[in-house]
Structures are given as structure tokens and as C-alpha cells.
């Protein structure tokens, strides 16, 4: 299939359709709305399930129901709606059904604004709901990657029967770039064995997250933990550029990483040896890779569009003896390359453990 000029939100939606998404439930919210609108036309055209729910709470519980029924189901939203859906994430994790969620993040807290942000990092990687679980979290930096990671999200959701987030700041949702869509996959002929389809010729299936006894609930949790460990060892993804020779390694994801790449050219022209580590999976997180880099005496500069959320994971990875600086913009502001260049100068001049934010 040839490259075409695609808007991020439409690319996410069309990629999901081609990956075999056969049910979508959502609620309008900027800067994600084109995604829902794309689904409202295409899913109906294709005879698949589309429904605009009365709220994000209802949407995620419809998603939960459709997943229980065997659908390859997805929803999408932006930060305030992602917060509202938290109830459902936890039930979905507890009952181990496959679900894909796309979060086009905007500035917070509260109603915040509709500008691009990365401030859902904590929420999606660490606190997506009550109980012990992590969703898999994929973070594209380009429209092409948005497409590729959406397809991957459906595969991982099915493979592990788990919740997979694809998170992008509003800039990626709204920007247009040349990208190539995958071919249309055929839909599976039948629902998986565990799905709710009516117990014809078999004993009844149950989709449930209620385990009243401590022993039985601990057993479920141990199984969930085993699954999470398997995901950690098999599904880690990140990109590195010039890290081996670098004195300073910038750690950034999504749009922040793209701006960092521009800043790196300036820094390289100045003769500074700088590299980039870009997590593509935010969970699992490239802890070991960062630890290994820290052992060769490098400094780190974390750049985010938030107050320093991934920063905590980087600090935990490299340990207390490695200098880690931070540069972040909040409230929907995007870091400028010159700001990152200045932050890099600072990080090298005063290898810091302290805040270096905007």
C-alpha cells in the first residue's frame, strides 16, 4: 500500500479497523474526536459495531462487555475521559479480557486544556485502576508509528488477554504526515473458546473479577503477575541513537523525543557527544538498558511534556549515583529545541540530581 498524507487521529482509527477491530465504543473529547468520528463512518460501512456511549464510564463498560463476548474491541479518549474510565480498566485486568485503548493526551489537571501533553504517564503506567496490574503502554512518536503500534496493540491484547494502551500527545493526534496503512485483515471466523456466546453444547463460560476468598484472589494475582513478568521479558521496545559514545543521554518519548532529535543535531554540531533513548513501550520500561548506560558514567537528561513523570522511572533505573537532569513543559506547552539544547548544556555543566524544569 502506498504512502498517503494522514492525520494522526484518522490513522489510529483506520489502523485499528485494518487490524481487525470489530467493535468500538467511545465518547467525544478533544483532541481525540476525529478518531471517534472516523469510526462512526467506517465501522458502520463495514457492518461492524460502533456506538457513541452516554459517557466514558458507559463506554468502557460496553467495551468490557464486548470483550467478554469475544470482540476485538477498542475505545479512545483523552485525559479527562481516560480518568473517568478507570473503573473499567481494573475490571478488564481482573477478568483478563483483551482491550485496546487509545489516549490522545491533553493538558491537566482538571479540565485543563486541549493542548498536547504527556501528563497521563503516571495514570496509564502506574495507576490505571485499583489492584495490582499494569496495562501494556505503547507510545508512538510519528503517524507511521501510531499505525504500526495500533496494529501491535491488537495483537498483544489478544496474545496476553490484557489491556493495551496506545498513548500519544494531542500533537500526534492532530498532525498530518505521510504514512502507509497496512492491508485489511480478515475478521476471525469465530469467537475465542472462553467468550460469552451462549452455552450451546458446552458448559457455561464466566467472565468475572470477583474472588471472595483471599486464597483464590491471591492465586489470580499470582497468575496476573506471571503474565506481567512474561510481558516484561518479551515485549520491551525502545529506540537508541548514538548512546554508546554519548556523554549525555536524553530520555524522551513521543513528541518530546522528536523535538529532542532536532536538539541533538545542534548539540552534535557543537561537538557535544549526545545520544537518545526513546522508550516505545512505557510499560514495560527499559530499566535495564538505562542501568547499563549509567554504569559507563553517562549523564542523563529526561525531557517530557509534564512535570517529570517518566523521570521517576529513569531515576529508579540508573540509581542514585548517576546524574539525572530534567526539562519539562506543562499545561500543553511543547518544548522548543533551543530549550532542550540549553537544558543539555546545564546538565553537562552541573551534573545534577536536582530539578531543572521550566
Amino acid at each position: 500500500m502506498a504512502q498517503q498524507l494522514l492525520k494522526g487521529n484518522n490513522a489510529f482509527a483506520e489502523a485499528a479497523i485494518r487490524a481487525g477491530c470489530d467493535a468500538y465504543f467511545g465518547y467525544p473529547i478533544t483532541p481525540q474526536t476525529e478518531l471517534l468520528e472516523h469510526m462512526s463512518a467506517r465501522m458502520i460501512e463495514l457492518g461492524r459495531v460502533f456506538l457513541q456511549a452516554e459517557s466514558e464510564v458507559a463506554a468502557i463498560n460496553m467495551v468490557y462487555g464486548a470483550a467478554a463476548a469475544g470482540a476485538k474491541v477498542m475505545t479512545s479518549s483523552s485525559s479527562p475521559g481516560i480518568s473517568l474510565m478507570q473503573e473499567g480498566y481494573s475490571y478488564i485486568a481482573g477478568s483478563e479480557v483483551p482491550v485496546v485503548i487509545i489516549d490522545i493526551m491533553r493538558g491537566g489537571p482538571g479540565l485543563g486544556n486541549i493542548q498536547p501533553s504527556q501528563s497521563d504517564y503516571f495514570q496509564v503506567t502506574k495507576s490505571a485502576g485499583h489492584g495490582d496490574f499494569h496495562p501494556i503502554v505503547l507510545a508512538p512518536a510519528t503517524v507511521q508509528e501510531a499505525i504500526d503500534l495500533t496494529v501491535l496493540a491488537f495483537d498483544l491484547a489478544q496474545q496476553y488477554r490484557t489491556l493495551v494502551f496506545v498513548v500519544a500527545d494531542g500533537a500526534i493526534g492532530q498532525m498530518m504526515e505521510p504514512a502507509e496503512l497496512p492491508p485489511m485483515r480478515p475478521l476471525p471466523a469465530r469467537a475465542p473458546d472462553w467468550a460469552l456466546t451462549g452455552a450451546k453444547g458446552r458448559s457455561p463460560n464466566l467472565v468475572n473479577s470477583l474472588y471472595l476468598g483471599a486464597d483464590s484472589l491471591e492465586t489470580l494475582n499470582l497468575r496476573l503477575q506471571d503474565k506481567l513478568h512474561a510481558i516484561e521479558s518479551a515485549e520491551l521496545r525502545y529506540e537508541t541513537i548514538d548512546v554508546d559514545d554519548a556523554d549525555l543521554v536524553i530520555v524522551a518519548f513521543g513528541t518530546a523525543a522528536r523535538v529532542a532529535k532536532t536538539a541533538m543535531q545542534t548539540l552534535a554540531d557543537e561537538g557535544i557527544r549526545v545520544g537518545l533513548l526513546r522508550p516505545i513501550t512505557l510499560w514495560p520500561f527499559p530499566t535495564e538498558a538505562l542501568y547499563d548506560l549509567s554504569r559507563s558514567g553517562k549523564s542523563f537528561l529526561v525531557v517530557e511534556m509534564n512535570a517529570g513523570q517518566m523521570l521517576l522511572d529513569v531515576k529508579a533505573a540508573v540509581g542514585a549515583d548517576a546524574p539525572v537532569s530534567f526539562f519539562g513543559r506543562m499545561g500543553g506547552a511543547i518544548p522548543m529545541p533551543e530549550e532542550i539544547v540549553a537544558a543539555a548544556h546545564n546538565a553537562l555543566a552541573q551534573p545534577a540530581f536536582a530539578w531543572a524544569g521550566a
Binding site: 464486548a66 463476548a69 469475544g70 470482540a71 451462549g198 452455552a199 467472565v207
Partner: protein, 265 residues
């Protein structure tokens, strides 16, 4: 268990419906959840729907309903059964999907979901157990508690200034165009139980006909949290609840009325 009794010289007049699982329930003595379960199971047997049906259990005393019905089932978050049922029904429009919800679940935390499932005319059936109290959490006030009713969270009696009025869900949902069938029945004596079963059957028939949302509200007992004997509880339903929650048909879609007319002829 009933199944294993020798029946050689007996004529079987009463047995466990196939759709009801052969299992002891955890319900308190005198609680009418068990009665409602049995009626649903009888109806599903009679309509031949057991292996076509998907139950969405809710949060409340009936949280384990999935253990008591021999059908595919799931357990929704508190109040969200109608949304979960929507997801299932949209994906499997040819299956029979029903929710089983208490009054805290349906009329309080899940008020938005039940109104919108009705408004979309979602082809699902809801069995709504109105026992005027939160049973599972130990007898707190529900939106359906009566004015003046003492509960563990309205110790001085439900005060309308503080806590509003009993909610009439069957009437409210009847006013929504997507609702095909909305009625209230009671489980306090044998005559009313038989009427309740007929209504449950009509509700599932409405779903089979694909004509919209169907709901049966059932006035029910909670002897434990009302602090009464089972017998007194039934009397309380008759004397206190029925006057506030009149029994009757609040919406019967034309298609159902015609079908009724046909079956009478």
C-alpha cells in the same frame, strides 16, 4: 438433591428448572432473590433459551447470580450492567442478554446507564429487584427507600429534605420511547409471584421480538436488613411498599399488546 430422587412411582409435578444451577444459594431465609431467580429460570426453560442466553450479574446481594444460573455469564461493575449488556448485545444481536440488578445498583449508581439503555431501545431485558434498601452492604438507604424508613444510613428515618424521594423507576423508564415493556410486580405472595412470572416471560418475549428494552421491577423482601421475619416482610411489602409503588403495566408496546390479543383469541 432433587435430581437424584427416585421417581419410579411418582408423578413429577415440581422440579428444578434446567436453567437454575443445582447449587445452594447464599441468600438469607425469606429473601425473594431466590424466588426471582427461579421465575427467570422457569421462563428461560419454557422459551427454550438456556443456551442462547447471557446473564450480566450486578453488584449487590445477587452478585453471585452467575453461580445460580446455568448460562454464560459475566459480573459487571456496580451500576454498569446495562452498559456491559449493551456491549454484549451489540456484538451478539442474536443472543438473549439480561441484567439482574438491585435498586442501589440500578436506581442510584447506575441511573445513567439504565436510562440510556432504555433510550437506545437496546434489545435487552432487565430484572430489577426493588427491596427498598442496600442489602449487601448491610441495610443502608437506597433511592427507593420509603419516606420515613429507618436504615443504617437514615437512622432517623428517610427525610425528604435530606435525601429526596422514593424513585419510581418502572414509571420513569416507561416514559422513554426506546422502552417496549416496563411493568412493576411483587413477590410477596403466591398470586403475585405467578403474575410476576408472566411479566418476566413477556419481557423476554419482547427481547425475542426485537422491539426494544424490557424491564420488570419486582417488589422484594429483605428480612435481614428490615429486621423482620420473612412473613412480616411479605406483609410489609403488601402494606407499605405497594401503596408507594403501585403494581401495574406502565408501558406495553403495541406489538406486545397485539400479540397478547392474538393469544387470547
Amino acid at each position: 438433591m432433587l435430581d437424584t430422587l427416585p421417581l419410579e412411582n411418582e408423578r413429577l409435578v415440581y422440579a428444578r428448572p434446567r436453567t437454575l444451577a443445582s447449587r445452594y444459594t447464599h441468600y438469607c431465609p425469606g429473601c425473594t432473590h431466590g424466588t426471582a431467580h427461579r421465575l427467570i429460570a422457569e421462563v428461560l426453560d419454557e422459551l427454550g433459551l438456556q443456551d442462547e442466553t447471557i446473564l450480566v450479574a450486578s453488584v449487590g446481594c445477587s452478585v453471585f447470580a452467575y453461580d445460580y444460573f446455568d448460562v454464560d455469564a459475566c459480573e459487571a461493575a456496580h451500576g454498569r450492567a446495562p452498559a456491559m449488556a449493551t456491549g454484549i448485545k451489540r456484538y451478539h444481536p442474536d443472543k438473549i442478554v439480561f441484567t439482574y440488578q438491585g435498586d442501589g445498583d440500578l436506581a442510584s449508581i447506575g441511573a445513567a446507564e439504565i436510562i440510556h439503555v432504555a433510550n437506545r431501545g437496546e434489545n435487552i431485558t432487565t430484572i430489577f429487584i426493588n427491596n427498598a434498601i442496600y442489602g449487601m452492604t448491610g441495610g443502608q438507604m437506597a433511592p427507593t427507600s420509603l419516606i420515613g424508613q429507618k436504615t443504617t444510613s437514615s437512622p432517623f428515618g428517610r427525610d425528604t429534605q435530606l435525601a429526596g424521594y422514593p424513585m419510581h423507576m418502572a414509571e420513569l423508564l416507561a416514559g422513554i420511547p426506546g422502552t417496549a415493556y416496563s411493568v412493576r410486580r411483587s413477590l410477596h405472595d403466591a398470586r403475585h409471584v405467578i403474575q410476576a412470572k408472566k411479566a418476566i416471560k413477556t419481557a423476554f418475549e419482547a427481547q425475542m421480538a426485537g422491539i426494544g428494552f424490557s424491564i420488570v421491577e419486582l417488589l422484594s423482601t429483605c428480612p435481614t436488613n428490615w429486621g423482620m421475619t420473612p412473613g412480616d416482610s411479605c406483609d410489609w411489602v403488601r402494606d407499605q411498599m405497594v401503596p408507594v409503588y403501585p403494581l401495574g403495566d406502565f408501558k406495553v408496546a403495541d406489538e406486545l399488546q397485539q400479540a397478547r390479543g392474538r393469544s387470547k383469541r
